[in-house]
């Protein structure tokens, strides 16, 4: 199958003043096929977001090539929509304007953009919330607006950086269901970064495990053959889910412990 994103043995380093450059990710090779939902899991500080930012074009790899739909990426990735972990909506725009601006940027007339924004707000379950400013919405509602803002452009690739990280457990499940629901309709290629293994398994077609950084590497790649459509809150009870979870956790646990030991040693 044709690939949407292909990271070819990518290194990503950061300059540190007066010191050796810090190499966050080393020799990462990752292919995401069109229509494939890939979750990237790793302990904190494993360079998951770094990898995602390389695919977005926000970071330049120090070695290797990022290919988007078969072509090497120059500058920002224009075929990708990016859902950030932190609040990324423009606080001075209403939720309707925040969604409509995505279309207005590329020249859609305002009236048309607003009508489409209204449709999208409805699709993410926020009918009647168009006039609210972001600070008048709950964290989950803001994420819904952010999803509408990204998806209304209909990007071929969806990059998600722990998008549901700041939400409470119940809201995360509901948002997971909403995401799968929307994804099911047109199956974009998805790179979903998370540190929550359960979330990764319940959403994705493949789970990729990163080792503890620096020099984080891809150390595991597990297909998730669970049937779709899935119910994110129910799927955890399936025996097959639990088997997969056990296998992957076995590998991930060592890395998590290593990362924890590393962070406590640093503090001491």
């Amino acid at each position: 199958m044709e690939s949407a994103v292909h990271l070819r043995t990518v290194d990503i380093s950061f300059a540190v003043s007066g010191k050796q450059p810090f190499r966050a990710v080393a020799g990462a090779d990752l292919r995401v096929a069109k229509g494939e939902f890939v979750a990237i899991v790793g302990p904190t500080g494993s360079g998951k977001s770094t990898l995602l930012n390389a695919a977005a074009g926000l970071l330049r790899p120090s070695a290797g090539v990022v290919e988007i739909e078969g072509r090497p990426l120059e500058g920002l990735n224009r075929s990708a929509g990016y859902l950030f972990q932190a609040d990324a909506l423009m606080p001075w725009k209403t939720s309707r304007d925040n969604v409509a601006i995505s279309l207005e940027i590329s020249g859609t007339p305002r009236r048309q953009a607003l009508a489409r924004a209204e449709e999208w707000l409805e699709r993410v379950g926020l009918r009647g919330f168009g006039d609210r400013y972001p600070h008048m919405l709950s964290g989950g509602q803001r994420k819904r607006v952010a999803m509408a803002q990204v998806l209304i452009r209909d990007p071929a690739i969806l990059l998600m950086d722990e998008p549901f990280g700041p939400l409470d457990a119940q809201t995360r499940l509901i948002m997971g269901d909403l995401l799968l629901d929307l994804w099911q309709q047109d199956r974009k290629a998805v790179m979903f970064v998370t540190h929550d293994l359960e979330e990764a398994i319940s959403l994705s077609d493949r789970v990729v495990i990163l080792s503890t950084g620096p020099d984080a590497r891809i150390i595991g790649d597990f297909p998730i053959p669970l049937p779709r459509p899935r119910d994110v809150s129910e799927i955890k009870l399936e025996p097959e889910f639990q088997n997969l979870h056990r296998d992957i956790w076995h590998l991930l646990k060592d890395q998590v412990l290593k990362a924890y030991a590393h962070s406590t040693a640093e503090k001491a």
Partner: protein, 261 residues
């Protein structure tokens, strides 16, 4: 505190102050009243003077002049500061070069500039506008500079990922962010615009509230001085109230604007 109670207490402060003033200047409790009146006038004389000014209508002209000067200083100062603040905030190296000069210019007491401005722009309104400008400009400039520098990184990256060009970023991200800082300093910058106008008039003019006060002082007309100060205070209070109204509309998207309702 409930609003009516607060209002009552606020009025009470004025009542006490005026009562004390009256006792000071109308009774012999603190010494010879006629001597004290020379320094402090009396509440009734000041009130009569204010009434005379308004009933003859001559005060309106002076208020109008001060208002025009302050408004021009505010508008020109804000626009100039917006343009320069944006320009420098996006060019860190240039900003670093100019940094000491901007700080030095801002540290200069503006009163020393007043005679120069009178020399350059004459006794009319423009020398006062220039003085107000030097006050407003720096307040707005530093706020714009800060606002552009401290644009939320995630909001900026998100806007970039949505496909915004540099121009669109300027319009939809940098400008609103900078304006929110400008609006939050609106009270201060408008206040300084008035200060610039009045101080300029005080030091040399042919009209305006500052001129009125300076004239009265020149003739040891203490009632006139006090009347001028009270009118000036009321003028500033009304402007401040209008700014608060404008602020509520403009900053509706900010979290704390909720509490003002």
């Amino acid at each position: 505190m409930p609003r009516p109670v607060l209002l009552m207490l606020q009025i009470l402060v004025a009542v006490f102050a005026i009562a004390f003033w009256w006792v000071l200047t109308r009774t012999s409790l603190f010494g010879d009243p006629s001597r004290i009146q020379f320094f402090f006038s009396t509440p009734m004389d000041v009130l009569n003077r204010i009434i005379a000014w308004f009933s003859s209508g001559q005060i309106w002209y002076h208020l109008w002049i001060t208002l025009i000067e302050a408004a021009l200083a505010f508008v020109i100062g804000t626009v100039a500061a917006l343009i320069l603040g944006f320009w420098l905030a996006r060019r860190p190296r240039l900003a670093a070069v100019f940094d000491p000069y901007i700080k030095a210019a801002n540290a200069l007491p503006r009163v020393v500039l007043a005679p120069i401005f009178t020399l350059w722009f004459g006794l009319g309104i423009w020398s006062k506008v220039a003085l107000g400008f030097t006050l407003v400009f720096f307040i707005v400039f530093f706020n714009v500079y800060q606002g552009v520098k401290e644009v939320n990184r995630t909001v900026l990256q998100n806007a970039r990922m949505l496909g915004m060009s540099e121009r669109q970023l300027l319009r939809h991200v940098y400008l609103p962010s900078a304006l929110s800082w400008v609006f939050s300093s609106l009270h201060i910058s408008i206040g300084f615009a008035v200060v610039g106008a009045v101080v300029g008039e005080y030091l040399g003019a042919s009209a305006g509230l500052g001129y009125l006060i300076a004239q009265a002082e020149g003739m040891f007309d203490i009632a006139g001085v006090f009347a001028g100060m009270f009118v000036l205070s009321a003028f500033v209070l009304i402007i401040d109230w209008l700014v608060t109204l404008a602020e509520r509309r403009l900053l509706i998207w900010q979290p704390d604007s909720d509490h003002h309702h």
